[in-house]
């Protein structure tokens, strides 16, 4: 029985937390913070406490820590507690009368005297006049709320594409142009992104699409992204992925809508020859300009040579103008995937593409995702159905 390759590939997992990494930390109240860890610096999590960044180095992701003093202690993860279904109901508890028996000053005093959060909660509960009348479910809810308030713990979150996308989507979904985890994964699949593949990406969505393709390539393949600014595009989402600079620069290159135009004549090369004797500064500058110019020429050539495996678009500009501009550089049978927060934009694009013979079967879909609460006895869908993940158009280049 063959067991496959037995040497562990370098990139099967994000590995261990390293100096300089940007990590996501989940706080007891559910908030997630993004923090750059630098050697000997102090990470301050406000009410939860502070600790030395180096204390996380070489740890695996996913651990939960308790901060006591400035020290970190790994604590076991919590499993879901079965809740006993008692005969108690809220029948005899008056609404609005479920008051907190310890004053906030009393709690402060307890906290300062080093009493652990679990103990404070226990005391709260004991002193709570109505507590025994409440249902087990209400108790559990109450306990959770209190814990979120007093616990001094945090959990590191592995910067998987899924987690990073979720973090940014919660933070500001408009900056991702509504690209949710499921939207992103469908785009990567519809474009059949694979290690070694070559893709053109138009990303006005903070870099989530570029991040998605780069993550799937893991250093093997090629991405040319087209942006709307003169200098290199800022893709803030890439930060959380902690990609190695060298790997990044060999896989990802960027053009803008001017330099990606075949009619465009690069001006950089024009002023390379001056009769004057140059200073050292001038020479360095000139050679930098030349390198940038050479690189631009070669990326342009690479784009115009075409035969790319897919085009992925999430842009604020007219999608037909983008698709028509870039589809000549796609290989036959390559996928075109366009995302928009707005159905009408894709409806128009679809009806226009249907008129053009080299696009096969443009189809528009809505992505739809629902998360469920899975606490024992209390499984139910979350009600946030209004949060849209946008719409997708998919077609095949003929």
């Amino acid at each position: 029985m063959q067991e496959g390759t037995s040497t562990l590939p370098l990139n099967t997992s994000r590995g261990l937390i390293q100096d300089g990494d940007t990590v996501l930390l989940r706080l007891p109240n559910g908030d997630v913070r993004s923090i750059k860890l630098e050697k000997d610096s102090t990470v301050n999590l406000g009410r939860v406490g502070s600790f030395n960044a180096s204390d996380l180095f070489n740890h695996t992701y996913g651990l939960t820590y308790d901060i006591s003093g400035k020290k970190l202690e790994v604590i076991p993860p919590r499993s879901i507690q079965e809740v006993e279904d008692t005969e108690a109901t809220n029948e005899l508890i008056n609404d609005g009368e479920f008051v907190q028996p310890l004053t906030s000053e009393e709690i402060e005093t307890l906290k300062k005297s080093g009493v652990p959060a679990s103990e404070i909660i226990k005391r709260q509960i004991e002193q709570h006049a109505n507590y025994s009348l409440k249902t087990e479910y209400s108790k559990e809810k109450y306990k959770k709320r209190k814990e979120a308030k007093y616990s001094k713990t945090f959990t590191t979150i592995e910067p998987t594409l899924f987690n990073v996308c979720e973090y940014w989507f919660k933070k500001d979904q408009s900056r991702l142009r509504d690209i949710r985890c499921d939207t992103l994964s469908q785009m990567l699949h519809l474009a059949s992104v694979r290690p070694g593949g070559r893709y053109i990406v138009v990303d006005d969505a903070s870099g989530i699409l570029v991040a998605g393709v780069l993550d799937r390539l893991s250093g093997d393949g090629r991405v040319i992204s087209i942006c709307d600014v003169e200098s290199s595009p800022a893709y803030p989402v890439l930060t959380q992925l902690n990609l190695k600079k060298e790997a990044l620069s060999t896989v990802l290159s960027s053009l803008n809508w001017a330099t990606a135009d075949e009619e465009y004549i690069p001006m950089l090369a024009a002023s390379g020859t001056s009769r004057e004797v140059k200073s050292e500064r001038q020479k360095v500058r000139a050679s930098k300009r030349k390198a940038a110019g050479d690189s631009l020429v070669s990326v342009r050539e690479e784009l115009f040579d075409g035969e790319f495996d897919g085009l992925l678009v999430a842009s604020e500009y007219d999608p037909l103008s983008i698709v028509e501009k870039l589809s000549p550089y796609l290989a036959g049978s390559a996928s075109i995937v366009v995302q928009s927060p707005n159905i009408q934009v894709l409806a128009d694009l679809q009806s226009q593409m249907r008129q053009i013979p080299h696009y096969l079967a443009p189809a528009v879909t809505e992505v739809w995702l629902r998360r469920y609460q899975v606490l024992p006895g209390r499984t139910h869908p979350f009600m946030n159905m209004s949060g849209s993940g946008g719409f997708l158009l998919h077609a095949i280049k003929m």
Binding site: M1, E3, G4, P9, L10, N11, T12, S13, T60, G62, P77, R78, S79, I80, E158, L161, F162, C181, L184, S185, Q186, L188, H189, L190, S192, V193, R194, P195, G196, D215, R216, L217, S218, G219, D220, A331, G332, S333, Q344, L346, A347, D348, S351, L360, A361, A363, V364, T365, V367, W368, L369, R370, R371, Y372, V374, P376, T379, I396, K397, M398
Partner: protein, 301 residues
């Protein structure tokens, strides 16, 4: 895996796109013919064509598109041996399990191989997939197919009931995907197969709520944390562009005009009838009869 060459070669798997609802796999074998209601084609004529070509039928009536296979097209075209997973689920599971280049993954069961092909593509040549199928005939078909599709080097397929016998690797994989009727029976086995030095993930796919609830309990008991449940769908959008709607002023004008014409006709017919009546009265005295009736049929509204 499948050909990445620009043009089609003998022996290649191509996807023949006849219509959106009729997509078929074809292994190019010069000498053979491909026949469909959209015409007849020689395999030999496909060789050397670029992938993504539109090909006219011999005789010229119909045409087909010949596409490069992708796991997504294969899922549309594949011979179904079981209920299969589709794009929305596969894409979401891949993303949630963090399957990427180099990942080591377990799937059970293999089924029709839809998830297998997708994962083989995503993990690339540096990753590995262990796939388990308890149904012997399905196992045999999948084995042949994986060999033919050139993924046998990155997919280890085993004929086994994993709920009873467990998996063939220990402390090895980054992710486990269970598509089984009773995934709870495989949870403890899966835990053994997952590597111990990193965060690892498991996904259990079940259509029914009761299965999900039981799996959640099993996962919780086995010590898995952050258990969540997702449902994902693709809603096809029928986005035919809406023509401009007519205002009711136009309907009103049409109705008024129709009524005016109707009333004119009525008045004309009344005048005509009266004229005929007078004429008849002059000619032959008084009388009512058939003509009256005709008029009645013409005017009653």
């Amino acid at each position: 895996m499948w050909s990445t060459a620009r043009t089609i070669a003998a022996g290649d798997l191509v996807i023949v796109w006849l219509t959106r609802d009729l997509v078929q796999p074809l292994y190019v074998a010069p000498g053979k013919d491909f026949n469909s209601k959209y015409g007849s084609y020689r395999h030999a004529d496909l060789v050397g064509l670029p992938y993504g070509s539109k090909v006219r039928a011999r005789g010229g009536r119909g045409f087909i598109h010949v596409l490069r296979p992708t796991p997504e097209l294969w899922t549309l075209a594949l011979p179904h041996r079981t209920q299969i997973l589709y794009l929305a689920d596969i894409a979401f599971i891949t993303s949630w399990l963090d399957i990427r280049s180099g990942s080591r993954v377990i799937e059970a069961g293999t089924g029709s191989g839809s998830f297998t092909h997708s994962t083989a593509r995503t993990i690339g040549p540096t990753g590995h997939l262990w796939s388990y199928e308890f149904h012997e005939a399905r196992f045999a078909k999948a084995r042949d197919e994986f060999a033919r599709h050139g993924i046998a080097d990155r997919v280890t397929l085993t004929h086994r009931n994993v709920c009873k016998e467990g998996f063939t690797v220990e402390d090895t994989v980054d992710a486990v995907f269970l598509d089984l009727p009773a995934p709870w029976d495989a949870v403890e086995h899966a835990k053994k197969a997952l590597r111990k030095d990193r965060v690892t993930r498991i996904c259990c796919f079940s259509p029914c709520m009761e299965q999900v609830l039981r799996t959640v309990s099993a996962l919780n008991e086995a010590g898995f944390t952050d258990i969540t449940m997702y449902e994902t769908l693709i809603r096809p959008q029928d986005v035919s562009v809406v023509p401009k709607l007519k205002p009711i002023s136009e309907v009103s004008a049409r109705l008024k005009e129709a009524e005016r014409r109707r009333e004119e006709k009525r008045q004309r017919q009344i005048r005509e009838a009266q004229r005929r009546k007078r004429k008849r009265a002059e000619e032959e005295g008084e009388g009512e009869g058939a003509i009256q009736k005709e008029e009645s049929e013409g005017v009653e509204v």
